[in-house]
């Protein structure tokens, strides 16, 4: 898989992971530019359809980033996201997608380093997995 650069779409919660991503930048922690952020209010507001849409449109991986357990700005949004992601992963597996292409991670506003590391690891994993064929298989 030489030269393959995966495309990652990230749904980041406004209060924790998006701010953590800002902190990664402010701290000049480097991570691969394969990752493109979309800001949402809460990980619990990420509709599974957004994830499926991103994958069908050609993303090689999707990251959902929320607040650490117990730390949700809205008390329980990240728990909702967690439960939903468990089902979604199963569903995506049934549709033939490698579940390693969907990551759900809790990264707080102060964890810039963790954000950079997470994106780096995810990018490496997707480089190993190669391009997603989800788009050709499921695009209408």
């Amino acid at each position: 898989m030489t030269g393959f650069e995966p495309k990652i779409v990230g749904f980041l919660c406004n209060w924790c992971t998006y701010t953590g991503a800002d902190l990664a930048g402010v701290s000049r922690f480097q991570y691969p530019p394969n990752f493109i952020p979309i800001r949402v209010m809460c990980s619990g507001a990420v509709d599974p359809m957004y994830v499926v849409k991103a994958l069908v449109e050609g993303a090689d991986g999707v990251l959902i980033g929320g607040c650490n357990p117990g730390d949700c700005h809205y008390q329980s949004g990240n728990y909702k996201a967690r439960r939903r992601a468990t089902i979604l992963k199963q569903l995506l597996k049934d549709l033939g997608l490698d579940e390693r292409r969907l990551w759900v991670r809790w990264i707080s506003a102060s964890e810039g380093k963790k954000f950079a590391e997470t994106v780096t690891e995810f990018t490496e994993e997707l480089r190993r997995l190669g391009p997603s064929r989800f788009r050709e298989e499921w695009a209408l």
Binding site: N14, D22, G25, F35, V40, M41, K53
Partner: protein, 589 residues
């Protein structure tokens, strides 16, 4: 409005941030790229958008090009969205017709490879422009608010909040579980920073009698404070600005309507019986600091002697044990530091040493912590008085025929200690008051990891959440002075809110479409703010009535959980509509 007639007119303004952006991106090619994106009628650049000149440029660009929406390509919206939004308003646009592409924090700074960073920036800009085309003007509002407050807890913090709220013209209902006001402070003999009551010397009027009694009377006699003693909150409902609370009083149940709430429910002391090595409850002469306070208070009239519990003898060797139930990693106590124990233990030690200069007083500590002005002087004075500070944990308080033996170590000299002691005082830490968790659920205020009410922002605390503020030890252990400051700040914030008589309604909020709603109530069950209520509407097609979801606008916290849960997509978050997300995703991929 112009947006709905025909195509959007999007202006994209690059803020080069004094060269930050151009240092890592090929701005020229990005501008060229953006010019070709749908709806873009202007691509501009400014050096600094966050000063007056930059905002003037933005205003001019909007006016000259009849822009109806703006994409700012520069820094993070987390910090600058408010400010740029104001510039839009100044130019006559709705504040929400703005999208920011965060090219600085999330592209230039974390990616050194100029070519690849520019590639990522193209995608981010495409998504921002696509989202901008889908933006709609949003409008907040205001609804009426009750000029009344509910204060839960009648300790120093609750009393101060009640007084400040009532002085501003608000009705206050002060609910106290105990039969009297004053909380834990009422049980203290003297308080920091003086820790001294000298009726014959230079009285500073700093003690309970001189400070607290007038305060309690001030509350009891205030014409606008209704004190509910021996009472508890039973139920809580309504919406921000118009809450209803049912209070269980000794005589029955009372319902009150309030606009705001102060949580001043305090903390409770860790039960030292959880730590059996200290022998509390087994040996009579092992007491908590609060027991000692009561002993000191009891000794003030009469012979003015301190009598220990077992035989009434005056103690000559006294050991204070710090961090009992605090900074505990064994799980039997609390992991956090209770902040005030070093301060009060030193105060008590000084009081004993003043009365009995011949007594030997030991303080066993792990670290001395006193995050208060005047603590250093307090500590030095104690040392100069001959109080012994021993660093090290106490492993056991044993007893034999001759009395108590404190077994521990002195880390500084490396010696094991066996001190024959007359009185052992446990400096017990604080934990969340009983009922805190239940209250957090009823009032929908989250708790922190230690079980106290969580402050909205740990750095700039005391921000109100829907008119509800936690103050004093309810939000974590703190000294009297800081509890009172909390209460004053909370009251000032709430007074400001109530003075207007109106509650702000956020423009960014969930909105339900009655036509599409099937009444399944999924949204109601996921809403963390209790903002969704079901209401009855006429169903014209079927000529009957049916239940649909209604979002209480002032109560909504704009999280989007309802929009996600709604199977018929009848509820949308006004600033994160599905079509907006959809456009972003399509542009990205």
């Amino acid at each position: 409005m112009r947006a709905t007639e025909g195509r959007a007119r999007t202006g994209v303004l690059f803020c080069s941030c004094r060269g930050e952006l151009s240092s890592g991106l090929d701005l020229g090619s990005l501008k060229e790229y953006v010019r070709g994106l749908p709806d873009v009628v202007l691509v501009g650049e400014t050096a600094v958008l966050c000063d007056q000149n930059g905002q003037e440029e933005l205003r001019k660009a909007i006016a000259d090009n009849r822009l109806d929406r703006v994409v700012v390509a520069g820094c993070t919206p987390r910090v600058y969205e408010e400010m740029v939004g104001r510039a839009l308003v100044a130019a006559g646009l709705n504040r929400y017709m703005l999208e920011m592409a965060n090219l600085r924090e999330q592209c230039v700074w974390p990616h050194r490879d100029r070519k690849r960073a520019t590639g990522k920036a193209r995608l981010m800009l495409a998504a921002a422009v696509a989202r901008a085309s889908m933006l709609e003007p949003l409008h907040g509002g205001r609804i009426g608010m009750k000029r009344a407050a509910l204060v839960l807890g009648g300790g120093v913090a609750g009393m101060q909040a009640a007084i400040d709220l009532a002085d501003d013209g608000n009705e206050v209902h002060l609910v106290e579980r105990d039969g009297q006001l004053g909380g834990r402070t009422w049980q203290l003999s003297t308080t920091f920073p003086t820790h001294e009551c000298k009726p014959d010397g230079c009285c500073m009027h700093y003690c309970r009698e001189c400070i607290l009694v007038p305060k309690v009377e001030g509350v009891m006699q205030h014409p606008r404070i209704r004190v509910h003693l021996g009472s508890e909150l039973l139920e809580f409902g309504g919406v921000f600005g118009n809450y209803t609370a049912r209070i269980k009083e000794p005589g029955g149940i009372k319902e009150v309507e309030v606009g705001t709430v102060v949580l001043a429910t305090g903390s409770r002391l860790v039960d030292p019986a959880n730590l059996p090595e200290f022998g509390y409850g087994v040996h009579k002469d092992v007491v908590t600091f609060l027991d000692l306070e009561r002993m000191i208070v009891a000794s003030r009239p009469g012979d003015h002697e301190l009598h220990r519990p077992s035989d009434g003898k005056v103690p000559k060797v006294i050991d204070f044990i710090q961090c009992v139930g605090s900074r505990d990693e064994t799980g039997r106590g609390k992991a956090h530091c209770s902040l005030v124990c070093c301060t009060y233990a030193i105060g008590q030690a000084k009081e004993l040493k003043r009365r009995y200069p011949d007594a030997q007083v030991f303080i066993h500590y792990i670290d001395l912590r006193g995050p208060y002005r005047g603590f250093e002087e307090h500590y030095r004075e104690a040392r100069d008085m001959g109080i012994h500070f021993l660093r090290g944990r106490v492993s056991e308080v044993a007893a034999d025929r001759d009395g108590l033996v404190v077994v521990g170590e002195d880390i500084d000299t490396g010696k094991l200690l066996r001190i024959r002691s007359d009185l052992v005082v446990l400096s017990t830490g604080q934990e969340a008051a009983p009922g805190t968790e239940a209250l957090s659920q009823v009032l929908r205020v989250p708790l922190d990891g230690d079980g106290f009410f969580r402050e909205l922002n740990p750095a700039f605390d005391l921000l109100e959440r829907k008119g509800i503020i936690a103050v004093g030890c309810a939000a974590g252990p703190r000294g009297i002075r800081y509890s009172v400051q909390d209460a004053k700040a909370a009251a000032a914030t709430l007074n400001g809110l109530m003075r207007s008589g109106e509650v702000p309604v956020p423009a960014e909020r969930a909105e339900a479409d009655e036509q599409r709603c099937s009444g399944c109530r999924q949204c109601e069950s996921v809403c963390p703010a209790g903002a969704i209520v079901m209401k009855k509407v006429a169903d014209r097609r079927r000529g009957a009535t049916r239940w649909v979801a209604h979002v209480n606008p002032s109560q909504c916290v704009s999280c989007g959980a309802c929009a996600m849960a709604c199977p018929s997509k009848a509820i949308l978050l006004s600033n994160h509509k599905m079509k907006q997300l959809w456009a972003q995703i399509e542009a990205l991929t």
